[in-house]
Subunit: 496 residues, 2 copies
């Protein structure tokens, strides 16, 4: 593709000038349309060293009001902190808000192709990265993003000429980095790696556009034309339904809420005290081991209102070193979160390696409250099961332990607790009209939760039910499961 794409005849200089003026004007107009349509536009610029990525970005943004775009300049190499997050993390953080542009001065391509060229990315990891990237790009476009990928192409000769020219002049010599010179020396090898990457990630929904970057004016024109064309097309689809992919992850046995017996799940105060102490002591030790082994841990809590999530989480965190964990209470999304891919706020809250993140409510809101309250379309929540499995697979592939708890009570118990909250002044803050409204939809929720568990109870990120009519029972069970999962992860890590 790289080798073929640039054999296009250029218009003459005069014509380029006229066309450029047209496209610039059009982009300015499109910026307003994007805002109105709430379309998020993510534009990735990749290409050869000295191909002019920065200068093209500079020209593109001259046509856009600064309130409506952001430029992210990514280093080829992640920082020390970024290395403690999943590969996609530092890029996914950058996705634009609805109605805005994000221009990426290199994105996930460069890190991968550099990895290959430097020989520190084996074939298996390469395949994994390609899969992560295709999945992420698809998930963005499925969720209404316009993703445009430009590769700025120049010949070996042209690159050499540019590098020499930069070096000649003292004031520009610093801009030539050793990697660019290496790239020029090994041009053909690099070309093959870039070509393969482009082929491996060229998908109809987020296709590659190769830009002949030899003539800077023509390159600018090509980028603007394609950008405007891409925006025009995206604006025609106001609410797109995309095919629901097969949710083909290995699954554990389904759990139906109706089949869970609750009243027999009890523990005496005496036994609770003893066990709690033993288990918390063990968890404290494990937290250290996890920290040393650099294993990231994600514990996700979902459950009925008043099921006892808060108290349960507390019994976990009591055993943890505060420097190594964080609890994320998840309420309805902030405007900045609502304006992005629904998983963005969870990507942003991922722990570093060795740390524990506990989510009090989670991304599963998509298929519970968002589904039932109509906050997203049917296509959105139907797609979400697979998207969330993909998200958790990304996390476990990164090395994370992912534990998902469903805190279960019955309808009657919820009513008792609600009534108790209502009648006890110091508990009244815990109960709202919304809780009562949700309660009326119990059956619909139960149906949605059963579907959720059936479709996301993967072997790598399983659901555990915590029977919480007796809250003490649920706390002990949670501690036991967390301990078991951490021990398993440590053992696996050591055996490698």
């Amino acid at each position: 593709m790289l080798k073929e794409a640039c054999k296009v005849e250029h218009p003459g200089d005069e014509e380029i000038k006229i066309l450029l003026a047209q496209e610039r004007e059009k982009l300015a107009a499109n910026q307003m349309k994007i805002k109105e349509a709430n379309l998020p536009v993510m534009v990735m610029f990749e290409g050869w060293g000295a191909s002019g990525k920065g200068s093209i970005i500079g020209k593109v943004i001259q046509n856009i009001d600064p309130r409506f775009f952001d430029v992210a300049t990514m280093d080829a190499e992640p920082s020390e902190e970024e290395k403690r997050k999943p590969f996609l993390w530092r890029y996914f953080k950058e996705i634009p808000k609805a109605g805005k542009f994000k221009l990426m001065d290199t994105c996930w391509m460069e890190e991968v192709t550099d990895g290959i060229l430097e020989g520190n990315l084996d074939e298996e990891t390469y395949r994994k990265r390609i899969n992560s990237i295709n999945t992420a790009e698809r998930s963005l476009t499925d969720n209404g993003y316009l993703v445009m990928k430009f590769f700025l192409h120049i010949s070996k000769k042209e690159q050499k000429k540019r590098l020499e020219k930069l070096e000649e002049n003292e004031s520009t010599a610093w801009r030539v980095n050793p990697d660019d010179k290496w790239e020029n020396k090994h041009y053909d090898k690099c070309l093959d790696v870039y070509e393969k990457y482009i082929e491996d990630t060229n998908r109809p929904s987020a296709p590659w556009y190769i830009i002949d970057a030899k003539d800077r004016k023509f390159a600018e024109l090509s980028v603007l034309q394609l950008l405007n064309l891409g925006i025009d097309t995206a604006l025609k689809n106001n609410s797109l339904a995309v095919p629901i992919l097969q949710n083909s992850f290995p699954m554990r046995k389904t759990i139906k809420l109706g089949d869970i017996s609750l009243d027999d799940k009890k523990i005496s105060d005496e036994e609770y005290k003893v066990k709690l102490k033993v288990l918390q002591t063990r968890l404290r030790e494990l937290h250290n081991e996890i920290y040393n082994a650099k294993i990231p841990v994600i514990i996700a809590y979902e459950g009925w209102d008043a099921a006892g999530k808060g108290g349960n989480i507390k019994r976990i965190t009591q055993a943890l070193d505060p420097r190594g964990y964080i609890v994320h209470p998840i309420a309805s999304p902030e405007p900045a979160e609502k304006a992005r891919h629904y998983l963005w706020r969870f990507w942003n809250r991922l722990p570093k390696t060795g740390h524990i993140a506990i989510f009090d409510r989670t991304w599963y809101g998509r298929v519970m409250v968002e589904r039932l309250e109509g906050f997203c379309s049917e296509n959105d929540w139907q797609r979400a099961y697979n998207e969330m499995n993909e998200f958790e697979k990304e996390l476990t592939d990164w090395g994370a332990v992912v534990i998902k708890f469903w805190v279960q009570i019955d309808n009657k118990t919820q009513l008792e607790r609600f009534t108790d909250r209502q009648n006890t002044p110091e508990k009244q803050w815990k109960i709202t009209d919304e809780d009562w409204r949700n309660r009326e939809k119990w059956d619909l929720y139960e149906q949605a939760i059963n579907e959720m568990i059936a479709k996301t109870n993967t072997t790598f990120a399983p659901w555990y039910v915590l029977e919480s009519v007796d809250k003490k029972y649920a706390r002990i069970k949670a501690l036991e499961i967390v301990i078991e999962e951490l021990e398993k992860a440590l053992k696996e890590k050591k055996s490698k």
Copy 2:
């Protein structure tokens, strides 16, 4: 994917029964919705021998009115006639009409995987086939088709059991074909080939669905559920705008109609007679050679009304053996053609190897009359340049010579010819009100034609302008170009 996809827990028999009844009813309802929405649905069934493809198809169609579906049973091996057409041809012929189902009992997958397993498809041809298939599936979905791909999966053990059971009974033994036994014996090798094919062709717009086909009822349920889900999703998009891909084919120098001088392109009657005879004699010889070398030839004529296409074509065909060529006059599409992908009627009219097909007007109607009269959406015609280049690339990769003529006259000459036709009783049939209406849009057409030539003047299927103010000049030029192209193709073929 194959290996993972079937690890899903099955509902109990009773539940399957209830769910099946629901899905059957839903499919019956969906059939009516498909008809109303004019959605074409192409369903491909692939899978292991004895996995039950035929029986599943039989069950699916029980829910659909026979007026609304067709089943196509494809042989793994193309017939002798089919071998003289491009690889995609026998499948593309089968695409359904808008509003109808087509169920394919194996499609292009089987031919490719068999080719690999039998060792007569080398890596390069495999890559070419994968590319053709991905392009075709994308072009179908881009043009509003719902394409669903099911792979019926069973284990080696299960397949063996089924084959043995079929063989036991004399009345069913004939159904076991030697290929199925070979497949069972080399199960793991086949699994790898299928897995790779599925991975190579799993695209978000036409994704694979793997069906656990061990339990027949569950398999039927899975297919019906996914089919209904796919239809629901497709029905939500009434008119979809899809990203315009980069038209990254190698291009020849652009031609602008305004730059072509016409009045100097003349030939005397004397010279015309002599040259015509010589060239037609040569073309006659070449037609034989082409036939023997099995080279298919496609000559596409476009041009202004009254430019002289008919007479030009006649001078070509005068030199050809009538058993080896056909002229396809292309008018507005028949209802059966209009109801399908716009390239379908051209696929159907492709010549066999060794034959010549001449198109009097062509697929380029998409970006001329269909564009200007609003017969297709803007997204449709913008996408079409790339789609037509892909189509012609498919043809030249198959070995065809593709020659495209633009027969050019100026506005004044057209007026003279129109007036002459109007005033000459025996020519009046040649001129219609529509011709006059089109004439009023000359400038818009000229702009569209310039864009068309710029975007489709590929090195492998170039445009040639025939200056036809002097029709004799244009005829001689056409003959010379056809001869030159055929000589070139013969030389290339011999050098291989």
